[in-house]
């Protein structure tokens, strides 16, 4: 699978230049000579032979290291077509786009960019202007750079197995139409996006058609639209990321076998904001995530066969909203605490199951002392159904009348869906 994908994505580069055979020979030759060339260092700076990065790149041979001294660099976009270059900033050299242009475009494999800072690409409504753009290249490493006020910070298109790690990205927080994404992947499979910090962009991290990628340990907060936005990207993993106070939360759509472990989905507030929105997702795993302070914690639409376990839902308006077309998902070991509504749904029959979760509203007992309550818990409250039909009634949240409705439903459970947790936990799992 990986090979097919690689050929599909890298195809244009392999065809480029016309002589595929020659390219192959050059590639092999370069690999053989790598040992000798690693030592070669070019220095960029005011009092060196190379006043601009472009000049050094033009002079560099594959495998060279370019060290960029502190200072501000303006002028034309640097295009890198030489493979295996390593560009390292010393004392945060500043690349200023002067509101006019992209700063570095990579069209070669195995390029590393580290320790640079980029500002001010300017806004363009004609192109997705990026501070660093990687086109049809493999195994690039974009590490520990700083981005300020870039339309797009890091843009990977049709590239393969790159690493984007430890970058600090602060956007200009403009509104959606004149703002771009922090880390943008388009047809770039097997990318690792790790430990970056993104804020003030449109989408913090954006994956599209980028299967088999990993996002780990990133913090994406205060972005105008999504903290993480991904579509059509199967078999991806998201681990230990923190998404906080993004305009619309996190949206994961049209993908299979997505694994999300130990992430924090926090403080997404608004009528169209979701801690995590899952749309047309199948066979995924959500485990050990924290959903807190969201208007809607987890929203499932057309999502099926998901294992949703050991997550913590605290202080959300709606912890979980299940649309009628969500099928065969299993909720177990989750904690529901201090939410406005634990589970809401637009349907009276649900095809998802809840078993062995902890509900703070559970009022049952455990006579046989097996750790789970002897009376099933019905997490969909009558008042929640009323609010689904008449959203304005929300203003009566936590009123004695809403309690009366719920108590009546508990005594005569005829209205709310048949959904019930047959073995609610007596103690909250840690």
């Amino acid at each position: 699978m990986g090979g097919t994908e690689m050929r599909r994505c890298l195809g244009p580069q392999w065809r480029g230049g016309g002589a595929t055979v020659l390219s192959l020979v050059l590639f092999v030759g370069a690999s053989l000579g790598a040992q000798a060339e690693t030592g070669r260092i070019l220095r960029v700076g005011a009092r060196t032979a190379y006043p601009t990065l472009s000049a050094a790149v033009a002079a560099a041979t594959p495998g060279a290291t370019i060290r960029v001294a502190a200072g501000t660099y303006r002028g034309a976009t640097t295009e890198i077509r030489t493979p295996r270059l390593t560009i390292i900033g010393e004392g945060w050299p500043l690349f200023d786009g002067e509101g006019q242009r992209e700063l570095i475009v990579v069209r070669a494999d195995d390029v590393t960019i580290r320790g640079l800072s980029f500002i001010n690409t300017g806004v363009s409504h004609m192109e997705d202007r990026a501070a660093v753009r990687v086109i049809e290249s493999s195994r690039c490493r974009i590490e520990a750079n700083r981005f300020r006020d870039a339309l797009f910070a890091i843009y990977l298109q049709k590239s393969f197995a790159c690493q984007v790690r430890g970058n600090d990205i602060v956007g200009a927080s403009r509104d959606e139409t004149s703002n771009g994404n922090g880390v943008h992947l388009w047809y770039s499979p097997h990318t690792s996006v790790i430990d970056n910090h993104v804020r003030g962009q449109r989408d913090g991290i954006y994956f599209e058609f980028s299967r088999g990628s990993v996002a780990r340990g990133n913090v994406s907060e205060g972005n105008r639209r999504y903290g993480l936005h991904f579509m059509f990207s199967d078999s991806c993993r998201y681990e230990r990321n923190t998404f906080r106070a993004n305009g619309a939360g996190v949206a994961v759509m049209y993908s299979k076998q997505v694994t999300m472990l130990g992430n924090g989905f926090l403080d997404a507030q608004g009528s169209a904001a979701y801690g995590l929105l899952l749309k047309e997702i199948t066979d995924g795993t959500l485990a050990g995530n924290q959903f807190a302070g969201n208007s809607t914690g987890l929203y499932l639409e057309g999502a099926s066969r998901l294992a949703i376990t050991d997550n913590d839902f605290t202080d959300n308006g709606w912890a979980v909203r299940l649309m009628a077309d969500a099928e065969d998902s299993r909720f177990s070991g989750n904690v529901f605490r201090a939410n406005g509504f634990d589970v809401a749904t637009n349907s009276r029959t649900l095809r998802s199951s809840f078993e062995g979760n902890w509900w703070d509203e559970y009022r049952g007992y455990d006579l046989d002392r097996d750790g789970s309550g002897d009376v099933p818990h019905q997490p969909v409250r009558l008042f929640a159904l009323v609010v689904e039909r008449h959203p304005e009634a929300l203003i009566l949240l936590r009123s004695p009348v809403s309690r009366v409705l719920d108590a009546a439903e508990r005594v005569f459970p005829v209205l709310t869906p048949s959904l019930a947790d047959p073995r609610p936990l007596m103690r909250a799992p840690r």
């Binding site: 202080d315 201090a338 009634a393 929300l394 009566l396």
Partner: protein, 263 residues
């Protein structure tokens, strides 16, 4: 010292030794303590306390206030037979009732919270709003109790009116609002609903605490007005102002009655 403060002082001294008031504070304290004891976290405790506050505080203020005024009838006559202005006597009596009730509420809530707050992470804003809401409800319903007691000398009748007022404001009002929402669900109800909430001190108190505790839920509603009101300091500001008004209105009504009536 002014007549007001002297009457107030006598009232405070009297109620400071009142067993029912002590029982009220202890009961609130036990409720709060048990919420922590059964492993509640900050927000859960505030939510449960909100339920207790919305139902218990008005009920206690009404019943206790009514009994207190009826029991003080002869004392009021004695005071009014002194060369004192009626206004001062009334203010002293009102504060002498409302302040001890509010103090009992704050003590019942505050002592367990102070003990457990050292665990950290307490939702201070929500707790502050809850304390404010409880004190305002106490003041409002103490005033309503006085107005009822000054309107009817028949204790049984007075108690019936007080319980009716309690049920009406704590449950009936919202039930009617809910019925209205169901009946006129197709109409734009956002603005009328917000206005209706201001018409009942119990609702104002509840919504005030919600702005701190359930802002995420309130912002989940699609209406622009909710977003405007609850997405900023506007909501809490309006709620606090309305609560202040609600503490003043029953006071003024009861005072009018007090100044005019025959004893």
């Amino acid at each position: 010292m002014s007549a007001l403060s002297l009457v107030l002082r006598a009232g405070l001294r009297d109620l400071a030794r009142n067993r029912w008031l002590l029982a009220y504070a202890v009961a609130l304290g036990l409720i709060t303590e048990s919420l922590f004891f059964f492993g509640g976290t900050g927000d859960q405790v505030v939510l449960s306390l909100l339920n207790a506050t919305l139902l218990l505080v008005p009920l206690v203020a009404l019943v206790f206030g009514l009994m207190h005024v009826y029991a003080s009838r002869e004392f009021i006559e004695l005071l009014l037979a002194q060369p004192l202005p009626r206004r001062a006597v009334f203010s002293g009596l009102y504060l002498g009732l409302a302040l001890p009730l509010a103090a009992a509420f704050l003590a019942g809530l505050g002592v367990p919270l102070a003990i457990h707050a050292t665990r950290g992470g307490a939702p201070w804003v929500a707790l502050g709003f809850l304390a404010l809401a409880g004190v305002a409800l106490t003041a409002a319903f103490a005033g309503i109790a006085m107005a009822i007691a000054l309107r009817t000398d028949d204790r049984l009748r007075g108690m019936a009116i007080a319980l009716g007022a309690w049920f009406g404001l704590a449950v009936g009002y919202d039930a009617a609002v809910l019925a209205m929402v169901s009946a006129f669900g197709d109409w734009p109800l956002e603005r009328p609903l917000l206005v209706l909430m201001l018409g009942n001190p119990v609702d104002v108190a509840r919504v005030l605490v919600l702005t701190a505790l359930d802002a995420s839920a309130l912002l989940g509603y699609t209406g622009a007005l909710f977003r405007k009101v609850f997405g900023s300091a506007l909501g809490p500001t309006i709620a606090v102002a309305a609560l202040m008004l609600w503490t003043v209105v029953p006071f003024v009504i009861a005072r009018r009655r007090f100044l005019r009536r025959d004893f």
